[in-house]
Symmetry: D2
Subunit: 311 residues, 4 copies
């Protein structure tokens, strides 16, 4: 059921929209740099209701948000114990593409699956021999969840692949230390394809609801894996503002440099929504640490107004 | 009301007690090294009930657990904005006594108040000119909360003060970068006195309940500061296992090298306890990262059996 | 003219030979691990005389020693100014394969051409489009100098190429920061081919003599480039013992993990040798930092006995 | 014998003088910031002759140049082996006041005596119980060498002592790791007093000549210690330009942030000077890495014109 918009939600949306100009689209990937900085969409999904604000049919690439999905899929496939042999679950305080800790902290195991190092390791752990087979395990999951198979944005993929020097350096560093299973280029290509999966905020809200309910409905992910996933979102999902997001918003969330944000609420009330709630947000203008400015503003206002903090 | 012990809680306690031998008391502070490694106490407090398991009248020093208290007191006194001018709220992945990031990450602001650097900065922000005046603001808070004024263990304080070279190095490094307010030795001495405050698990459980209720009853701390505090416990309260504790236990908690652990539950059921719950644990044998082995084992079993995870 | 062996040189050789067992051949490259740890050769060349001790016709791969040669050839081809746009001339104190400084020290320019990062950058600066063309510029230089064209040890090259994950990580990291000219894989392959060039200690002694004379005879390298090269050998030629080698031996020298050492003396007297002298040493058993144990022992005894220190 | 100035030396001096404006006096120590940026003095001393250019009677504090002297005095007193138990002889590539390596490189031994960490350790190794007793061992050495007892600039000392937070942090970090002998504050005060010893370029030239001759005349320092000292000057004497100074000038030298430079030549000819030569330079305007601009310019021109490079 589509919710009729309340004045309050509409007002919060308008307020957040006006903050777009405080950021700008990611410029290190050419295909992202040309995004319309004025776009802003918010979708809210609970088990009975959905709410759409703004450009909720606009498609964008998942970028780092996919780290949440690929971690769940790989961990369901391999088991927590095996995954943790290759990647830890600790926040770092470092930049998402930092390599220092891979050398300074023996034996060089990536600290968590939300930084690039950990996510490339996770891509190597996805079932399948080729990049496409690996990506298919994630697309299969998303198709079951969204009732449609997401597309991959080929232009964005190629744009990232051509300039993936830093990620390739990370991948070979991981391989040197034994934290890539199988072929390095396969893992790297799979990772970059995964980043290029296209979604809308409506899709993100559904993903958030799936997480919030501990996996009710199809597809199947073990509840303890979903809890680990949400803990990772809370401790290291929002780049180098993760600690402040936990402190001032208090919601498990994951952002991507394309401007998307995925959030989930275990038990909340937002106007007509009650219980488990998923939220998807998107606005391409990002701040210094990589988080969408309008999305963060909206999430903070929602958290304050509807008392959403987990703490 | 004192709870009659259920078979289940007693069984979980016995199971956890048997894990003591997997750790050993902290050895870098002489006065801690001689602790009885077989001690183990658990206290659970809700608004109607208290439960005691084991040596719940045994006194031990707060050590790092005091970082939670001093952060609340300093932030209530100074305001969030002023405190954040001197210390960030981000997890690090570094050792609790690491100095590297003070130099490598400009301008050298400590990343959070749960590492030594941040806690020394917080000590410098406590009201008062002398170390004792600063410590009194924390003791006043604890006296209001516990209805008794905690003592300071002079032997432990002197033992730490004599070997505080690393903490003194941290303090002067912070001063060099402008992140100590006032006199360095005053802040350092205040910090070490705070670490030496003595409590029991019953006291920790009361502190946990205070946090869990967002500050019901005396003393007064603003609810938004309590939420920030609990977020810090979740993202960086358990030394370098904070991420894994969030993933596998999912409860805001803070540990100290003396073997104490403070935890709080927003809304849970543990036998006769319902709603907000505080938990205090103590067992001197700690693991490699500094967390009490039996306490962690107990907390994990409690979380699994009573579904306590925030996620 | 081949020198008749003096008792003194023979005695120093025997003394050094007995130290072989204190090290062991490099084990991270399979093809090197199987070297005969008892081999030890020393060659001394001055403008009038050559002296051979031990297995001076034994061939081994240059490994890091080639960094000296490729730096000279690339710098003669490109000029000092252009080369220094891509690589600095500062010692680091880091491991030869460290990547930390590429990230921590903006803009990520390799600190010197004697560490792997700098040497891969230098390989990218060698004239030529393909790896073989680049390598040929170095082989051309060596052919002019040695009056024979050195071979490349294909087994060692393939062994290193298959396990070059760390070097590949370094190469892509350099590319990400703009310090590789042209194609990354081309530079990397050229670098690994260069490491696999085979020489004898007699060849090393000739190279040392060439450096010692500031480039007398063919081929041509500008004297100021040879001075820079010798300064680099003194400040960072002997892995993480470079400072101690300067302090206790005081001779510009460059070692490789295959067990070779190249040294040069501006103006010295060693038995019948007078003036500029080149020394080549080889013994596969290396110490913790990567220097040949017997070669270092020999060089220290030579320096002490014949007063060879530059200081 | 005082040399009559040649046109060539006078011209090189004038050229160098004109580069003063490219730098500015050190501003982190208030008492240094007010130096006259136009001062420039050069003194050259050989065994038969002295040459003075510019303000060669102007007094300035040794600052980091004293690290050379205190290393010699402490090592003569303690022996090389004992000193190396506390400080290594390796260059670092780090800033002179960096602390990162004290934590990242186990067991935290300072890498060399030319960075602050190593120099504070050396100060702790000087004989004597009080700061003044330790400083007296260095002043005794200088009095024997210079035939007058240098004074200590009390204003500079107090200015540095008041703002010595970073150096104090380094000192306590060293103590925590076992690399300070005795009392920390004693070592730190001794170090800062040593930095405040006042000299002229004439004094520096005499020190350089002493080093150049391997210690001819009084006082006595073992020749092998002098060789180690000169090697340290070559590999790490000129802050983060040490490698480039070795490459482009090629002379063992040590600079201080007050604008002084000490250099020594084993066997050279500069106009009427032949053989061992000492050079003292002073100009308060320093560059980004801490070296006196005019002094560096002069030294480079002298090296080029008189072929002074050791390589």
């Amino acid at each position: 059921m589509q919710q009729e918009l309340t004045n309050k939600l509409q007002q919060l949306y308008e307020d957040a929209l006006s903050t777009c100009q405080q950021g700008s689209p990611a410029d290190y990937i050419p295909a992202l740099a040309k995004a319309n900085a004025q776009l802003f969409a918010v979708s809210i999904a609970s088990q009975q209701l959905t709410t759409q604000l703004g450009d909720s049919t606009e498609r964008f690439t998942l970028q780092s948000i996919v780290k949440v999905i690929s971690f769940m899929v790989a961990t369901e496939a391999r088991g927590v114990e095996e995954v943790m042999h290759y990647v830890d679950l600790e926040p770092t305080g470092d930049a998402f593409n930092s390599m220092i800790r891979l050398e300074s902290s023996k034996p060089g195991k990536p600290f968590n699956p939300m930084i690039n190092a950990g996510a490339i390791t996770i891509a190597s752990l996805l079932h399948g021999t080729t990049p496409n087979e690996k990506v298919d395990t994630v697309l299969d999951f998303l198709e079951q969840l969204l009732h449609k198979r997401p597309s991959i944005n080929g232009e964005v993929f190629l744009s990232e692949f051509d300039t993936a020097h830093r990620n390739r350096a990370i991948a070979y560093h991981l391989k040197a230390n034994g934290f890539i299973v199988g072929d390095v280029e396969t893992a790297l290509k799979a990772y970059l394809l995964l980043c290029s999966i296209e979604v809308t905020t409506q899709d993100l809200a559904k993903m958030g609801l799936f997480l919030a309910t501990d996996g009710e409905g199809a597809p199947f992910i073990s509840p303890h894996i979903l809890k680990i996933t949400k803990a990772l979102m809370m401790t290291c999902g929002m780049y180098n503002a993760s600690g402040k997001v936990a402190a001032f918003i208090g919601i498990p969330a994951k952002s991507g440099v394309s401007g998307g944000v995925l959030a989930c609420l275990k038990d909340a009330t937002i106007e007509g929504h009650h219980g488990a709630i998923g939220i998807g947000l998107f606005s391409p203008a990002i701040d210094d640490v990589g988080n969408s400015v309008a999305s963060m503003h909206m999430l903070k206002q929602l958290a304050d107004h509807y008392h959403l903090s987990y703490f």
